[in-house]
Amino acid sequence: MLTALNKDLKPFEELITSFSKGELKPHVEEHDRFPFGTLDVNLIEDAFRKIFDLGFLGIMLPEKFSGIGQGISAMCMMLGHVAEVDASYSLIILTSSLSQQIILNAGAEEIAEKIYPSANGAREYLIAFPSFTDPGQATILPQASSGRNSYTITGKLDYLVLGNFSNWAVLPARTAGSKGYSFFLVNLNDQGVTKSDPIFSLGLHACPIVDIALDNVSAQIIGEEGQGQKYFEMTSRIMHVTTAAINAGIMRGSLKEAIEYTKEREQGGKAVINWSEVRMLLANMAIKSKAAELCVTQTCKAIDENLKDWGWISIASTLHVHDLACDVVTDGVQLLGGYGYMKDYGQEKRYRDARQVQALLGSVPLKKLALINEHVA
């Protein structure tokens, strides 16, 4: 739907769909076994070599940092198409974009300059980020102390996405001098960084997540001290809709598989799709899926056109899409009956992934409260 509104995206769309089908689709079931099975972080690097070479990882990064300099629509289009095949890879792309946006919103051009143009491969380019955390809501954050020219960080940080893959991470930490938290760039290969085993989570398995502990790890501040909340809000305000785009992609995949299966499978002597209650369930899925696409498209448009309330529209439509997605993926399993519950089909993975996506950038109730707080303020 996004490409219908923005014809410039068509070539990107073709590239990204052929990448998803060619490189990701054959491995979905096996990669979903991570942290068990045969997938390891080197394979993730292989999968990303091509997408990195194509330059897609810098889709929203300005051209001066060797990015493509596209806007939110291109990002959503890409994440949606990848999610239709395997949303784990959408999370990887999203995470690196969240780091990018924090750096850009903080005006830390020297950091962008240091990392992106010279990055040699995905490990250097994709920067780890705690994508499921709104640091402002976290009770405990690592503590940063300032030395003469730099900072050192000590403490624990849970659920760092790509923490055992990337060379770099953007992390929130508190400093003694400021009320608010700050963001720092940390080298994850530093001796003082201890990483847990990959965490076994509900969904999005192919994107590794770890807990880390930092012990006097030197860090570079991103932007100004105490301004973390501001940079995070600037980032999340625009990036919420990208999580909606991932769930809209998952919904598309779920509906497609449900239709294909119910056409093939028979019950009571006729194709399952020809029973009226099945049609009704499919209709409900289609309505929700289309409404979700519309939410994403219109939100992108509002952002691109800098509409007055676009921040509010972005989070409201995103929360709505997540609600719809959790319903759709549940019915998506249901329509395949027992087979929907088995890992041989994609539906059970979507059932898990959609909920994992829902928790991005903070828990649902707190996102809701943040939304209304902003509106009535």
């Binding site: 009770t139 965490i199 002597g269 549940t330 059932y351």
Partner: protein, 502 residues
């Protein structure tokens, strides 16, 4: 005021008052000792879940992800040692004879920690119910006797219920669909027995069971009228296991493929076929087939309802614990009204669902399959008579033709259609409502917990994965809604409705 006859006429209109308020009518008729007995079951379930299930369940689930071939034999051995596989076997068959409705509470308790564990035990009783509802006392005695012996020797003997076929799931649960479905399990009559060919899929506990209650068809094109129910023993020639499925959840309980290749099943293991039916009923094989299916599912769907409430409760308890231990902006989470309201709703879902499965149990106790054992004199005789008495007088009778005839008559011929409708309808209601509550509470818990709920070690994500299967097995929630309409609404209030869109 009103004449009694007028009252009677008014309360028997749709919705018939007695059928809609079973707890008021049937609660007081319950033998008092049943309540004490049920308390004992709940206490035992709580001890079992804290001492055995909780320390193990997350590691076990992880293990099944690491090793896709893993089957939890040692857990079944442990449950067998604790006597859990004979608790609900009637005393006349050598079991401990706990009342069947109490199994629901056991399911809920254990299911509130791990539905996989709850299935390892509960599904065995589904197998037992299927054997018993076929009314063949000689075979009941043999199979249940093996279970009791297995407890003594330490070699668990479980029973599975094998009806789902690769191309027919919903179809085998409703005769009108079975008549048109693509069936594959064929039973060919030969001298002295049947030759069985075909396969069954998604059979819970398949790999772990010794006996399998298998439905096959004399004529695959006329399945509903030619059903043959047979007992197949693991190890019989021509019978093998295929793979066990890689499921999203409930992974402690394997779902197996059963394969039959010219498997000979002797006559003494044939529980029911259209010829045997003639010995005790004039009703058509199709009607008796549906009645049997309805009776088994009236029990098992109430059971799945209790699993659903186990899930709803598990999700609630995990969310409550999280809310108790977490702060938001320096204030305990449980101090926020929005948190209290959500936890209240989850708690209400648990209790509302429990009422639904208890109502279904009451229907089974007074109008359905449990009615014989729950009549006060029979209940008290079997509870307090010494085991010796059963061994000397009752057990030998079970092999007699008379006992066989009486049980078959009782279960399959004499039950009234309106009782069949009530029990199957309420079981369907409990099944889809409770399992929907289960999934809903899991969703609420995950939303409340955010990223903390996504981690395997939180337990929250596991309940969500486990709960989804409940909406599918024992009849999809869609089939159960249709069954409710067909049996509770249509007979009185929509008599012209047709079913299954012919």
């Amino acid at each position: 005021m009103l004449k009694r006859s007028e009252v009677k006429s008014l309360i028997s209109r749709f919705p018939r008052f007695e059928d809609n308020t079973l707890s008021m009518y049937y609660g007081p008729r319950m033998p008092k000792a049943m309540i004490k007995e049920t308390e004992e079951v709940v206490a035992l379930a709580r001890k079992f879940k804290e001492e055995v299930v909780r320390p193990l369940y997350l590691d076990l689930d992880r293990k099944t992800h690491e090793d896709l071939d893993y089957i939890p034999e040692e857990v079944v051995k442990k449950a067998n040692e604790l006597g859990l596989y004979t608790m609900w076997i009637p005393k006349m068959f050598g079991g401990k004879g706990y009342n069947m409705p109490s199994l629901s509470f056991f399911n809920e308790e254990v299911g509130s920690v791990c539905l996989g564990f709850a299935n390892l035990i509960g599904v065995h009783y589904l197998g037992m119910a299927a054997v018993m509802m076929l009314g063949n006392t000689r075979i009941m005695k043999k199979i249940l006797g093996d279970v009791v012996a297995g407890e003594k020797t330490g070699n668990p003997c479980l029973i599975s219920y094998a009806i789902t076929e690769p191309t027919a799931g919903t179809d085998v649960e409703e005769v009108d669909l079975e008549a048109r479905g693509r069936l594959v399990c064929h039973a060919r009559k030969v001298d002295g027995g049947y030759i069985l060919n075909g396969s069954k899929v998604f059979i819970s506990n398949g790999h772990l069971s010794t006996w399998h209650t298998v439905y096959a068809y004399g004529d695959l094109k006329r399945g509903a009228d030619t059903k043959v129910a047979l007992m197949v023993r693991t190890g019989m020639k021509g019978f093998s296991f295929g793979r066990h499925e890689n499921k999203m959840g409930q992974r402690a309980c394997p779902a197996s493929v059963l394969i039959f290749e010219d498997c000979f099943v002797p006559d003494e293991l044939v529980v029911l076929n259209p010829d045997l039916l003639k010995s005790f009923t004039k009703q058509s094989p199709r009607d008796i087939n549906m009645r049997h299916i309805d009776y088994v599912f009236s029990l098992s769907r109430a059971g799945v309802g209790s699993f659903g409430i186990g899930a709803a409760r598990g999700a609630f308890e995990i969310a409550l614990k999280y809310a108790n231990e977490t702060e938001i902006d320096g204030k305990p989470m449980v101090d926020y009204e929005w948190v209290q309201c959500r936890l209240a709703e989850m708690y209400a879902n648990v209790r509302l669902g429990r009422l639904a499965y208890m109502e279904s149990n009451l229907a089974n106790q007074h109008r359905g399959a449990y009615n014989l054992l729950q009549m006060k004199p029979i209940y008290y005789y079997s509870k307090y008579l010494p085991e010796m008495y059963f061994k000397m007088f009752v057990t030998p009778l079970l092999n007699s033709r008379m006992a066989n005839w009486l049980m078959s008559k009782w279960y399959l011929d004499w039950q009234k259609p309106e009782d069949q409708n009530l029990t199957t309808g309420l079981a369907s209601m409990a099944k889809f409502s409770c399992t929907d509550f289960g999934v809903r509470n899991c969703q609420m818990a995950l939303e409340l917990m955010g990223r903390a709920g996504l981690r395997h070690d939180s337990g929250a994500e596991k309940v969500l994965r486990d709960a989804k299967l409940l909406q599918i097995y024992e009849g999809t929630n869609q089939l159960n809604r249709i069954n409710l309409f067909k049996s509770l609404i249509s007979p009185q209030a929509s008599p012209r409705a047709a079913f299954f869109e012919e």
